[in-house]
Each structure stands twice: as structure tokens, then as C-alpha cells.
């Protein structure tokens, strides 16, 4: 499956080490245009300023969680079509179902490897 590596990606996580890990993995996959935000509110600000081709977000963040960010994105006419992958340690069945109902495109449980990240990105934005 081909990946359009020119798409801008927004990585949302309040743990700087995880942001750095994901950004490094994305760089290895060929993505160069990658920004980050430390929580859902900061991410919404960035999403309003720039058109992103993919959001990769953690769930558990303060003040705005990734789950709330997802719901905001899906209820905003200008953002609702933005592909959204949740990358989180929250792996209870009800979390996955709630995220799916809220419109998440894919769901990755931490800890994950590069292969899983690649496969999920391909499934969501691959052509």
C-alpha cells in the first residue's frame, strides 16, 4: 500500500518522550511535516490554524483528553473529515467502543511497535 508522506500530521501527547518516539517513527516512514501538541485544547488550536492530513492522539491528557478532542473534531464541520488515530494505554473494551462510536479511524494500544504504527497509518491514509 502506498503512503502519501507529504501529508501534515499532528501528534498529540502530554508525555514529551512519547511525542519524540512517534515523531521519530514517522520520520523513518518518510513523513517530514509533523507537528505536536501537549493536549486536546492545544491540538484544537493547531487544527484551526493548519489543515492536517492525520491526527495521532493519546487519550489520557489534561485539561482536554484525546477522547474529547476526537468528539470536538468530529462535531466541527471544518475538521470532521480529518483522519484520527488514537494511541493510548486505555485498552478496555468500552474505551475502544466509545472511540469507535465517536468516529476514530484506528486504535493503537501502548506499548506499540513501528510495524503496528505503520500498518494503522496505511489502513487510515494509505492509497
Amino acid at each position: 500500500m502506498a503512503l502519501d508522506t507529504s501529508i501534515p500530521i499532528l501528534v498529540v501527547d502530554d508525555y514529551q518522550t512519547m511525542v519524540r518516539i512517534i515523531k521519530n517513527l514517522l520520520k523513518q516512514l518518510g513523513f517530514e511535516d509533523v507537528d505536536d501538541a501537549a493536549d486536546g485544547a492545544a491540538a484544537l488550536g493547531k487544527l484551526k490554524e493548519k489543515k492536517y492530513g492525520l491526527v495521532i492522539s493519546d487519550w489520557n491528557m489534561e485539561p482536554m483528553s484525546g477522547y474529547d478532542l476526537l468528539r470536538h473534531v468530529r462535531s466541527d464541520d471544518g475538521l470532521r473529515s480529518t483522519p484520527f488515530i488514537m494511541v493510548t494505554a486505555e485498552s478496555k473494551t468500552e474505551n475502544v467502543i466509545a472511540a469507535k462510536k465517536a468516529g476514530v479511524n484506528n486504535y493503537i494500544v501502548k506499548p506499540f511497535n513501528a510495524q503496528t504504527l505503520k500498518a494503522k497509518i496505511e489502513a487510515v491514509v494509505g492509497t
Binding site: 483528553s65 486505555e90 473494551t93 466509545a98 486504535y107
Partner: protein
């Protein structure tokens, strides 16, 4: 004083004696908890230990990421690249040392938690405690409410799924 009055007075005296004995017993049980010792020696150092573990693991992760980034971003070839890899590997080996100290600190925290748990169990048994309605502070109440509202259970919580299970659920949910 009538006969019944004397009898009542003896009963009151006996009740007061029982209450005083219970209070003395309770005081002994409370003192046996060693609250000051728990606060100063167990919980006090646990805070510092956990903060240090966070700091050390963060530093080690930074060294690992810097190593990977410098090697992946390097333009060096041949002997120069080999030297760079060797130098960076030494850095990784040194960084691995964090596990020794953090392991010792975590062991100390685990011991402290065991000590607290054991003393509380003894106390509860001593006073024949039964759980009533919990009285939570505002911070704990807010934390619980947010966890409930946002479905926050954390890693490895009961009911946690593997990636394969999640993939299957996502597929089924269409």
C-alpha cells in the same frame, strides 16, 4: 438513695469503665499504627523516591532517543560511522545503569506500601473495623469523577485488550 438508684449507679459505673477501657485500647491501636513514622519515614521518602524514578527514567529515555536520532541522522560512513556507533553504544550502556538505582528506590516504595498495608490491616482487625460510607477529599472526588467521565483506567486495567483484540473489535464495529 433507693435500691434501684444504687443499682443504676453501679450499671453506669460499669458502662463508663467499659468505655474507658475501649478508649484506652483504641488509643493503643492508633499509637500502634505509628502514624508519625509512616508520614515521615515511609510516605515522606516515597514521594522523593518516585520523583527520582521519574527523573531517572526520563533521562535514560532521552539518552536512548538522542542515540537513535544521532545514528539515524548521521551522514558518516565507513570507519567514521563505526566510531560513532561505538561511542554512542557506550553512552547507551552507561544510561542502562539507571535501572539499578530506580530498582532500589522502587523496592523501597514497595516495602513502604507493604508496611502501611500491614499496619492498617492490624489496626482494622484490632478495632473490628467495618467500611462505612467513604469520605473523600475534593481532589480525590474530582479525580474519580474525571476518570469515570473520561473512561480513564490506565494501562493494563481489568478488561484490557491486546492489539489483536482491538483490531477485531474495530473490524466488527465496522
Amino acid at each position: 438513695m433507693t435500691a434501684s438508684g444504687v443499682e443504676q449507679r453501679q450499671t453506669d459505673r460499669s458502662d463508663l469503665g467499659s468505655a474507658a477501657a475501649y478508649i484506652a485500647e483504641l488509643r493503643m491501636a492508633i499509637n500502634g499504627l505509628g502514624l508519625l513514622d509512616l508520614a515521615e519515614r515511609n510516605l515522606g521518602t516515597a514521594h522523593a523516591d518516585i520523583e527520582d524514578v521519574l527523573c531517572q527514567t526520563r533521562k535514560a529515555a532521552a539518552v536512548m532517543l538522542e542515540t537513535a536520532e544521532s545514528l539515524l541522522g548521521s551522514c558518516a560512513t565507513g570507519q567514521a560511522y563505526k566510531s560513532l556507533v561505538e561511542q554512542r553504544m557506550i553512552g547507551l550502556i552507561e544510561a542502562s545503569g539507571f535501572q539499578d538505582l530506580t530498582g532500589q528506590r522502587l523496592c523501597r516504595i514497595v516495602h513502604s506500601l507493604h508496611a502501611i498495608e500491614e499496619r492498617l490491616r492490624l489496626f482494622a482487625a484490632h478495632v473490628q473495623a467495618q467500611d462505612g460510607e467513604l469520605r473523600l477529599g475534593t481532589h480525590e472526588l474530582a479525580r474519580k469523577a474525571r476518570a469515570m467521565e473520561q473512561m480513564l483506567a490506565g494501562p493494563g486495567a481489568p478488561g484490557a485488550m491486546t492489539q489483536d483484540g482491538i483490531d477485531e473489535l474495530m473490524r466488527l464495529a465496522g
